[in-house]
Protein backbone atom coordinates (compact mmCIF):
# COMPACT_ATOMS: atom_id res chain seq x y z
CA UNK A 1 0.00 0.00 0.00
CA UNK A 2 2.70 2.58 0.83
CA UNK A 3 4.31 1.75 -2.48
CA UNK A 4 1.14 2.82 -4.25
CA UNK A 5 1.37 6.30 -2.76
CA UNK A 6 5.06 6.55 -3.46
CA UNK A 7 4.47 6.06 -7.16
CA UNK A 8 4.84 9.68 -8.17
CA UNK A 9 3.65 9.23 -11.74
CA UNK A 10 0.45 7.52 -10.72
CA UNK A 11 -0.42 10.35 -8.38
CA UNK A 12 0.32 12.94 -11.06
CA UNK A 13 -1.97 11.03 -13.45
CA UNK A 14 -4.78 10.84 -10.91
CA UNK A 15 -4.54 14.50 -9.98
CA UNK A 16 -4.49 15.56 -13.63
CA UNK A 17 -7.58 13.45 -14.37
CA UNK A 18 -9.41 15.17 -11.51
CA UNK A 19 -8.35 18.59 -12.86
CA UNK A 20 -9.42 17.53 -16.36
CA UNK A 21 -12.91 16.55 -15.22
CA UNK A 22 -13.24 19.78 -13.23
CA UNK A 23 -12.17 21.90 -16.21
CA UNK A 24 -14.51 20.15 -18.65
CA UNK A 25 -17.36 20.51 -16.19
CA UNK A 26 -16.56 24.17 -15.76
CA UNK A 27 -16.53 24.89 -19.50
CA UNK A 28 -19.68 22.87 -20.23
CA UNK A 29 -21.59 24.97 -17.72
CA UNK A 30 -24.02 27.36 -19.38
CA UNK A 31 -21.75 30.38 -19.36
CA UNK A 32 -22.90 33.85 -20.34
CA UNK A 33 -19.37 34.97 -21.06
CA UNK A 34 -15.90 33.51 -21.23
CA UNK A 35 -13.41 34.35 -18.50
CA UNK A 36 -11.03 37.21 -19.25
CA UNK A 37 -7.89 35.09 -19.86
CA UNK A 38 -9.85 33.13 -22.48
CA UNK A 39 -11.14 36.32 -24.07
CA UNK A 40 -7.63 37.77 -24.11
CA UNK A 41 -6.16 34.65 -25.76
CA UNK A 42 -8.96 34.49 -28.32
CA UNK A 43 -8.51 38.13 -29.24
CA UNK A 44 -4.74 37.77 -29.55
CA UNK A 45 -4.93 34.72 -31.81
CA UNK A 46 -7.78 36.40 -33.66
CA UNK A 47 -5.43 39.26 -34.46
CA UNK A 48 -2.92 36.86 -36.06
CA UNK A 49 -5.67 34.93 -37.86
CA UNK A 50 -7.03 38.19 -39.22
CA UNK A 51 -3.63 39.13 -40.62
CA UNK A 52 -3.13 35.70 -42.23
CA UNK A 53 -6.63 35.05 -43.53
CA UNK A 54 -7.02 38.08 -45.78
CA UNK A 55 -4.18 37.22 -48.20
CA UNK A 56 -5.20 33.54 -48.10
CA UNK A 57 -8.79 34.43 -48.94
CA UNK A 58 -7.57 36.61 -51.77
CA UNK A 59 -5.65 33.75 -53.37
CA UNK A 60 -8.48 31.26 -52.78
CA UNK A 61 -10.94 33.76 -54.23
CA UNK A 62 -8.89 34.03 -57.41
CA UNK A 63 -9.12 30.29 -58.07
CA UNK A 64 -12.82 30.33 -57.33
CA UNK A 65 -13.30 33.12 -59.86
CA UNK A 66 -11.57 31.11 -62.56
CA UNK A 67 -13.88 28.20 -61.79
CA UNK A 68 -16.91 30.49 -61.94
CA UNK A 69 -15.93 31.73 -65.39
CA UNK A 70 -16.23 28.23 -66.77
CA UNK A 71 -19.88 27.99 -65.72
CA UNK A 72 -20.88 31.46 -66.88
CA UNK A 73 -22.66 30.43 -70.08
CA UNK A 74 -24.90 27.83 -68.46
CA UNK A 75 -25.67 30.09 -65.53
CA UNK A 76 -26.58 32.97 -67.80
CA UNK A 77 -29.11 30.78 -69.62
CA UNK A 78 -30.72 29.69 -66.36
CA UNK A 79 -30.90 33.20 -65.02
CA UNK A 80 -32.55 34.59 -68.13
CA UNK A 81 -35.46 32.19 -67.75
CA UNK A 82 -35.99 33.40 -64.21
CA UNK A 83 -35.83 37.07 -65.13
CA UNK A 84 -39.39 37.26 -66.47
CA UNK A 85 -40.76 35.89 -63.26
CA UNK A 86 -38.71 38.36 -61.25
CA UNK A 87 -40.38 41.49 -62.66
CA UNK A 88 -43.79 40.20 -61.66
CA UNK A 89 -42.59 39.24 -58.18
CA UNK A 90 -40.95 42.60 -57.66
CA UNK A 91 -44.10 44.57 -58.36
CA UNK A 92 -46.04 42.31 -56.06
CA UNK A 93 -43.51 42.71 -53.25
CA UNK A 94 -43.69 46.46 -53.57
CA UNK A 95 -47.45 46.47 -53.43
CA UNK A 96 -47.44 44.20 -50.37
CA UNK A 97 -44.80 46.30 -48.64
CA UNK A 98 -46.86 49.43 -49.12
CA UNK A 99 -49.95 47.63 -47.90
CA UNK A 100 -48.11 46.42 -44.86
CA UNK A 101 -46.81 49.83 -43.80
CA UNK A 102 -50.23 51.40 -44.28
CA UNK A 103 -51.96 48.73 -42.25
CA UNK A 104 -49.33 49.02 -39.55
CA UNK A 105 -49.91 52.75 -39.36
CA UNK A 106 -53.62 52.19 -38.93
CA UNK A 107 -52.96 49.72 -36.15
CA UNK A 108 -50.32 51.98 -34.61
CA UNK A 109 -48.04 48.97 -34.29
CA UNK A 110 -44.45 49.98 -34.77
CA UNK A 111 -42.06 47.13 -34.01
CA UNK A 112 -42.27 43.84 -35.73
CA UNK A 113 -40.52 40.57 -35.01
CA UNK A 114 -39.14 40.43 -38.51
CA UNK A 115 -37.22 43.70 -38.31
CA UNK A 116 -33.47 43.41 -37.95
CA UNK A 117 -30.21 45.18 -38.67
CA UNK A 118 -27.44 43.11 -40.22
CA UNK A 119 -23.74 43.55 -39.40
CA UNK A 120 -21.15 42.33 -41.89
CA UNK A 121 -18.28 40.13 -40.68
CA UNK A 122 -15.56 37.96 -42.23
CA UNK A 123 -14.74 34.41 -41.19
CA UNK A 124 -11.11 34.25 -39.99
CA UNK A 125 -10.99 30.75 -38.56
CA UNK A 126 -12.74 27.45 -38.23
CA UNK A 127 -12.41 24.65 -35.72
CA UNK A 128 -10.16 22.10 -37.47
CA UNK A 129 -11.40 19.02 -35.59
CA UNK A 130 -14.98 19.41 -36.90
CA UNK A 131 -16.58 17.76 -33.86
CA UNK A 132 -17.74 21.13 -32.61
CA UNK A 133 -18.68 23.16 -35.67
CA UNK A 134 -17.43 26.60 -34.68
CA UNK A 135 -16.37 29.59 -36.77
CA UNK A 136 -14.36 32.59 -35.62
CA UNK A 137 -15.41 35.95 -37.09
CA UNK A 138 -13.59 39.27 -37.01
CA UNK A 139 -16.20 41.40 -35.21
CA UNK A 140 -16.81 41.44 -31.50
CA UNK A 141 -18.32 43.37 -28.65
CA UNK A 142 -17.01 46.70 -29.87
CA UNK A 143 -19.05 46.23 -33.08
CA UNK A 144 -22.13 45.49 -31.00
CA UNK A 145 -22.15 41.71 -31.30
CA UNK A 146 -23.65 39.86 -28.35
CA UNK A 147 -24.05 36.14 -27.60
CA UNK A 148 -27.11 34.36 -29.05
CA UNK A 149 -27.54 36.64 -32.08
CA UNK A 150 -28.52 34.90 -35.32
CA UNK A 151 -25.87 34.51 -38.03
CA UNK A 152 -26.87 34.29 -41.70
CA UNK A 153 -25.31 34.18 -45.15
CA UNK A 154 -27.08 35.40 -48.28
CA UNK A 155 -28.70 31.96 -48.62
CA UNK A 156 -30.06 31.50 -45.13
CA UNK A 157 -29.50 30.94 -41.45
CA UNK A 158 -26.24 29.21 -40.50
CA UNK A 159 -26.09 29.49 -36.72
CA UNK A 160 -25.83 31.73 -33.71
CA UNK A 161 -23.15 33.63 -31.84
CA UNK A 162 -21.85 31.39 -29.08
CA UNK A 163 -19.60 33.87 -27.34
CA UNK A 164 -18.28 37.31 -28.12
CA UNK A 165 -14.96 38.87 -27.14
CA UNK A 166 -13.81 42.42 -27.68
CA UNK A 167 -12.57 42.02 -31.26
CA UNK A 168 -13.67 38.52 -32.30
CA UNK A 169 -16.69 36.27 -31.80
CA UNK A 170 -17.38 32.54 -32.05
CA UNK A 171 -20.27 31.30 -34.17
CA UNK A 172 -21.86 27.92 -33.52
CA UNK A 173 -23.23 26.39 -36.71
CA UNK A 174 -26.61 24.66 -36.91
CA UNK A 175 -24.76 21.51 -37.88
CA UNK A 176 -22.94 21.19 -34.57
CA UNK A 177 -24.42 18.70 -32.21
CA UNK A 178 -25.08 20.50 -28.96
CA UNK A 179 -28.07 19.58 -26.79
CA UNK A 180 -28.59 23.27 -25.95
CA UNK A 181 -28.63 24.39 -29.59
CA UNK A 182 -32.33 24.83 -30.39
CA UNK A 183 -34.05 27.21 -32.75
CA UNK A 184 -37.76 27.92 -32.96
CA UNK A 185 -38.85 27.52 -36.59
CA UNK A 186 -42.03 27.34 -38.62
CA UNK A 187 -43.06 25.63 -41.84
CA UNK A 188 -44.93 27.77 -44.33
CA UNK A 189 -47.79 25.64 -45.65
CA UNK A 190 -50.14 27.83 -47.64
CA UNK A 191 -52.54 29.46 -45.20
CA UNK A 192 -51.23 27.63 -42.15
CA UNK A 193 -47.94 27.76 -40.31
CA UNK A 194 -46.68 24.77 -38.40
CA UNK A 195 -44.25 25.40 -35.55
CA UNK A 196 -41.39 23.23 -34.43
CA UNK A 197 -37.85 23.27 -33.07
CA UNK A 198 -34.64 22.73 -35.02
CA UNK A 199 -32.78 20.18 -32.90
CA UNK A 200 -29.85 18.33 -34.31
CA UNK A 201 -28.29 17.57 -37.64
CA UNK A 202 -27.94 14.41 -39.69
CA UNK A 203 -24.28 14.54 -40.73
CA UNK A 204 -24.40 11.80 -43.35
CA UNK A 205 -27.36 13.20 -45.25
CA UNK A 206 -26.61 16.85 -44.47
CA UNK A 207 -30.15 17.52 -43.24
CA UNK A 208 -31.43 19.47 -40.25
CA UNK A 209 -34.00 17.86 -37.94
CA UNK A 210 -37.13 19.92 -37.27
CA UNK A 211 -38.77 18.22 -34.31
CA UNK A 212 -41.99 18.60 -32.31
CA UNK A 213 -44.32 19.41 -35.19
CA UNK A 214 -47.97 18.68 -34.19
CA UNK A 215 -49.03 15.15 -35.21
CA UNK A 216 -51.96 16.42 -37.32
CA UNK A 217 -49.94 18.97 -39.31
CA UNK A 218 -49.98 18.24 -43.03
CA UNK A 219 -46.40 18.94 -43.96
CA UNK A 220 -45.37 18.33 -47.54
CA UNK A 221 -42.14 18.18 -49.46
CA UNK A 222 -40.56 21.46 -50.68
CA UNK A 223 -42.37 23.67 -48.19
CA UNK A 224 -40.22 26.52 -46.85
CA UNK A 225 -38.88 26.54 -43.31
CA UNK A 226 -38.14 29.92 -41.68
CA UNK A 227 -37.37 31.17 -38.18
CA UNK A 228 -40.46 31.94 -36.14
CA UNK A 229 -39.05 34.75 -34.00
CA UNK A 230 -40.75 33.22 -30.98
CA UNK A 231 -37.56 32.05 -29.30
CA UNK A 232 -36.98 35.58 -28.07
CA UNK A 233 -33.61 36.20 -29.70
CA UNK A 234 -33.86 35.62 -33.44
CA UNK A 235 -35.91 37.86 -35.75
CA UNK A 236 -38.79 36.37 -37.71
CA UNK A 237 -38.65 34.96 -41.25
CA UNK A 238 -34.94 34.31 -41.75
CA UNK A 239 -34.87 31.49 -44.32
CA UNK A 240 -33.57 28.13 -43.07
CA UNK A 241 -34.33 25.63 -45.83
CA UNK A 242 -36.83 23.33 -47.47
CA UNK A 243 -38.62 20.23 -46.18
CA UNK A 244 -37.34 16.97 -47.70
CA UNK A 245 -39.14 14.30 -45.71
CA UNK A 246 -41.55 13.97 -42.77
CA UNK A 247 -41.66 11.03 -40.35
CA UNK A 248 -43.64 10.46 -37.14
CA UNK A 249 -41.47 10.43 -34.03
CA UNK A 250 -40.89 7.33 -31.92
CA UNK A 251 -44.06 7.67 -29.82
CA UNK A 252 -46.31 8.98 -32.60
CA UNK A 253 -47.22 12.11 -30.64
CA UNK A 254 -45.34 14.56 -32.86
CA UNK A 255 -43.67 14.58 -36.27
CA UNK A 256 -40.10 15.20 -37.32
CA UNK A 257 -39.27 16.89 -40.61
CA UNK A 258 -35.95 16.59 -42.39
CA UNK A 259 -34.94 20.01 -43.69
CA UNK A 260 -32.40 20.63 -46.43
CA UNK A 261 -30.57 23.80 -45.30
CA UNK A 262 -30.47 26.65 -47.80
CA UNK A 263 -27.01 27.76 -46.74
CA UNK A 264 -23.83 25.80 -47.28
CA UNK A 265 -22.21 25.06 -43.90
CA UNK A 266 -18.76 24.57 -45.36
CA UNK A 267 -17.99 27.20 -47.95
CA UNK A 268 -18.49 30.25 -45.73
CA UNK A 269 -16.45 33.41 -46.29
CA UNK A 270 -18.62 36.32 -45.25
CA UNK A 271 -21.49 36.28 -42.80
CA UNK A 272 -24.05 38.72 -41.43
CA UNK A 273 -24.78 38.91 -37.72
CA UNK A 274 -28.38 39.85 -37.20
CA UNK A 275 -29.54 42.12 -34.41
CA UNK A 276 -33.26 41.88 -33.79
CA UNK A 277 -35.17 45.15 -34.02
CA UNK A 278 -37.87 44.24 -31.50
CA UNK A 279 -36.91 44.27 -27.86
CA UNK A 280 -35.89 41.05 -26.20
CA UNK A 281 -38.13 40.17 -23.30
CA UNK A 282 -36.35 39.91 -19.96
CA UNK A 283 -37.14 36.84 -17.92
CA UNK A 284 -38.31 39.01 -15.03
CA UNK A 285 -40.89 40.78 -17.20
CA UNK A 286 -42.46 37.49 -18.15
CA UNK A 287 -43.13 36.52 -14.53
CA UNK A 288 -46.63 37.49 -13.57
CA UNK A 289 -46.88 39.92 -10.66
CA UNK A 290 -49.40 37.78 -8.84
CA UNK A 291 -47.12 34.83 -9.20
CA UNK A 292 -44.37 36.81 -7.56
CA UNK A 293 -46.55 37.57 -4.56
CA UNK A 294 -47.20 33.90 -4.09
Amino acid sequence: MPQFFLNKRLIILLVSIIILVALIGFSLKDRENLTWPEQFLKDTTGFIQNAVSSPVNYVAGFFENVEDLQNTYKENKDLKTRLDELARLESEVQRLKKDNTELREILDKKDSLSEFEPKQATVIGRNPDRWHELLIINKGKNAGIEPNMAVITSKGLIGKVKSSNTFTSTVQLLSSMDPTNRISAKIQAGENNFFGLIEGYDKEEGLLLLKRIPYDAKVEKDQNVITSGLGGVFPESLPIGKVVDVVPDEFGLTQTAYVKPGADFYDIGHVMVVKRGALQPELMEMVDEKEEEL
Partner: protein
Protein backbone atom coordinates in the same frame (compact mmCIF):
# COMPACT_ATOMS: atom_id res chain seq x y z
CA UNK B 1 17.22 32.56 -32.98
CA UNK B 2 17.10 28.80 -33.47
CA UNK B 3 15.49 28.44 -30.10
CA UNK B 4 12.47 30.46 -31.25
CA UNK B 5 12.15 28.97 -34.72
CA UNK B 6 10.39 25.80 -33.59
CA UNK B 7 7.75 27.46 -31.37
CA UNK B 8 7.01 29.87 -34.24
CA UNK B 9 6.54 26.98 -36.66
CA UNK B 10 4.24 25.27 -34.16
CA UNK B 11 2.19 28.48 -33.94
CA UNK B 12 2.04 28.66 -37.74
CA UNK B 13 0.76 25.05 -37.84
CA UNK B 14 -1.79 25.87 -35.15
CA UNK B 15 -3.26 28.65 -37.29
CA UNK B 16 -2.61 26.73 -40.51
CA UNK B 17 -4.91 23.88 -39.45
CA UNK B 18 -7.85 26.26 -39.28
CA UNK B 19 -6.99 27.84 -42.64
CA UNK B 20 -6.52 24.40 -44.20
CA UNK B 21 -10.06 23.41 -43.19
CA UNK B 22 -11.44 26.69 -44.52
CA UNK B 23 -9.70 26.58 -47.90
CA UNK B 24 -9.98 22.91 -48.84
CA UNK B 25 -13.39 21.50 -49.87
CA UNK B 26 -15.12 19.58 -47.08
CA UNK B 27 -15.37 16.37 -49.09
CA UNK B 28 -11.68 16.25 -49.93
CA UNK B 29 -11.52 12.45 -49.65
CA UNK B 30 -15.04 11.55 -50.80
CA UNK B 31 -18.46 12.68 -49.62
CA UNK B 32 -19.31 12.09 -45.99
CA UNK B 33 -15.66 11.51 -45.15
CA UNK B 34 -14.11 13.92 -42.67
CA UNK B 35 -10.35 14.34 -42.85
CA UNK B 36 -9.04 16.31 -39.89
CA UNK B 37 -5.62 17.96 -40.22
CA UNK B 38 -3.49 17.00 -37.21
CA UNK B 39 -0.32 18.77 -38.32
CA UNK B 40 0.31 20.32 -34.91
CA UNK B 41 0.15 16.93 -33.19
CA UNK B 42 2.53 15.45 -35.76
CA UNK B 43 5.02 18.29 -35.24
CA UNK B 44 4.81 17.93 -31.45
CA UNK B 45 5.49 14.20 -31.71
CA UNK B 46 8.46 14.76 -34.05
CA UNK B 47 9.85 17.18 -31.48
CA UNK B 48 9.39 14.57 -28.73
CA UNK B 49 11.07 11.83 -30.77
CA UNK B 50 13.99 13.67 -32.37
CA UNK B 51 14.43 16.68 -30.10
CA UNK B 52 13.71 17.09 -26.45
CA UNK B 53 11.11 15.01 -24.59
CA UNK B 54 10.62 17.68 -21.94
CA UNK B 55 9.85 20.39 -24.50
CA UNK B 56 7.56 18.08 -26.47
CA UNK B 57 5.34 17.58 -23.45
CA UNK B 58 5.59 21.24 -22.39
CA UNK B 59 4.59 22.57 -25.81
CA UNK B 60 1.89 19.90 -25.88
CA UNK B 61 0.39 21.39 -22.72
CA UNK B 62 0.72 24.95 -24.03
CA UNK B 63 -0.75 24.37 -27.47
CA UNK B 64 -3.36 21.98 -26.05
CA UNK B 65 -4.64 24.78 -23.84
CA UNK B 66 -4.55 27.25 -26.73
CA UNK B 67 -6.41 24.81 -29.01
CA UNK B 68 -9.10 24.24 -26.38
CA UNK B 69 -9.65 27.92 -25.73
CA UNK B 70 -9.55 29.18 -29.30
CA UNK B 71 -11.17 26.40 -31.33
CA UNK B 72 -13.20 24.18 -29.02
CA UNK B 73 -14.27 26.38 -26.07
CA UNK B 74 -14.23 23.31 -23.81
CA UNK B 75 -11.03 23.38 -21.77
CA UNK B 76 -9.48 20.03 -21.01
CA UNK B 77 -9.80 17.83 -24.09
CA UNK B 78 -6.62 18.69 -25.97
CA UNK B 79 -4.92 20.05 -22.85
CA UNK B 80 -4.95 16.47 -21.60
CA UNK B 81 -4.48 14.50 -24.82
CA UNK B 82 -1.53 16.37 -26.41
CA UNK B 83 0.92 15.89 -23.49
CA UNK B 84 -0.28 12.37 -22.68
CA UNK B 85 0.26 11.18 -26.25
CA UNK B 86 3.68 12.88 -26.34
CA UNK B 87 4.53 11.05 -23.10
CA UNK B 88 3.40 7.65 -24.43
CA UNK B 89 5.32 8.22 -27.66
CA UNK B 90 8.45 8.95 -25.68
CA UNK B 91 8.03 5.70 -23.72
CA UNK B 92 7.50 3.74 -26.95
CA UNK B 93 10.59 5.23 -28.62
CA UNK B 94 12.77 3.99 -25.76
CA UNK B 95 12.03 0.43 -26.86
CA UNK B 96 12.12 1.08 -30.62
CA UNK B 97 14.82 2.37 -32.93
CA UNK B 98 14.84 6.06 -33.70
CA UNK B 99 14.85 6.11 -37.48
CA UNK B 100 12.68 8.02 -39.92
CA UNK B 101 10.43 5.12 -40.97
CA UNK B 102 9.76 3.97 -37.42
CA UNK B 103 9.13 7.54 -36.25
CA UNK B 104 6.58 8.12 -39.04
CA UNK B 105 4.64 5.01 -38.07
CA UNK B 106 4.67 5.96 -34.39
CA UNK B 107 3.47 9.50 -35.18
CA UNK B 108 0.61 8.08 -37.25
CA UNK B 109 -0.24 5.81 -34.33
CA UNK B 110 -0.23 8.83 -32.03
CA UNK B 111 -2.62 10.68 -34.33
CA UNK B 112 -5.05 7.75 -34.34
CA UNK B 113 -4.84 7.69 -30.53
CA UNK B 114 -5.66 11.40 -30.49
CA UNK B 115 -8.65 10.97 -32.82
CA UNK B 116 -10.00 8.04 -30.78
CA UNK B 117 -9.46 9.97 -27.54
CA UNK B 118 -11.28 13.05 -28.79
CA UNK B 119 -14.11 10.83 -30.07
CA UNK B 120 -14.47 9.12 -26.70
CA UNK B 121 -14.47 12.45 -24.86
CA UNK B 122 -17.15 13.87 -27.15
CA UNK B 123 -19.23 10.73 -26.73
CA UNK B 124 -18.91 11.15 -22.97
CA UNK B 125 -20.17 14.73 -22.94
CA UNK B 126 -22.92 13.99 -25.51
CA UNK B 127 -21.52 16.19 -28.25
CA UNK B 128 -21.75 13.34 -30.74
CA UNK B 129 -23.80 10.18 -31.15
CA UNK B 130 -21.64 8.63 -33.86
CA UNK B 131 -21.19 4.87 -33.69
CA UNK B 132 -17.71 3.43 -33.45
CA UNK B 133 -17.89 1.65 -36.81
CA UNK B 134 -19.01 4.88 -38.50
CA UNK B 135 -16.22 6.74 -36.72
CA UNK B 136 -13.65 4.29 -38.06
CA UNK B 137 -14.73 4.54 -41.68
CA UNK B 138 -15.83 8.17 -41.99
CA UNK B 139 -13.34 9.89 -39.69
CA UNK B 140 -10.32 7.84 -38.66
CA UNK B 141 -9.42 6.43 -42.07
CA UNK B 142 -9.57 9.73 -44.05
CA UNK B 143 -7.75 11.52 -41.23
CA UNK B 144 -4.94 8.96 -41.28
CA UNK B 145 -4.60 9.20 -45.08
CA UNK B 146 -4.40 13.01 -44.98
CA UNK B 147 -1.90 13.07 -42.13
CA UNK B 148 0.20 10.27 -43.63
CA UNK B 149 0.74 12.54 -46.65
CA UNK B 150 1.75 15.39 -44.35
CA UNK B 151 4.09 13.13 -42.35
CA UNK B 152 5.85 11.84 -45.48
CA UNK B 153 6.43 15.43 -46.63
CA UNK B 154 7.42 16.80 -43.23
CA UNK B 155 9.35 14.04 -41.48
CA UNK B 156 12.80 14.98 -42.77
CA UNK B 157 12.56 18.79 -42.27
CA UNK B 158 11.14 18.28 -38.79
CA UNK B 159 13.89 15.80 -37.91
CA UNK B 160 16.54 18.39 -38.80
CA UNK B 161 14.64 21.16 -37.05
CA UNK B 162 14.12 19.19 -33.84
CA UNK B 163 17.76 18.09 -33.71
CA UNK B 164 18.93 21.67 -34.15
CA UNK B 165 16.50 22.76 -31.46
CA UNK B 166 17.90 20.12 -29.10
CA UNK B 167 21.45 21.29 -29.92
CA UNK B 168 20.58 24.89 -29.18
CA UNK B 169 19.27 23.79 -25.78
CA UNK B 170 22.55 22.06 -24.96
CA UNK B 171 24.72 25.04 -25.81
Amino acid sequence: MRRFLLPLILLALFIGESIFVQVTPHDLLGSGKIAVPRFLMAALLFLTIFGSKKHGILYGLLFGLLFDIVYVEIIGIYLFLFPVIAFITNKLMRILQTNIAMASIIVLLGISFLEAGVYQMNLLIHHTDMEFAVFLSSRLLPTLILNAIFIILAVYPFKRLSEKFADSLNE
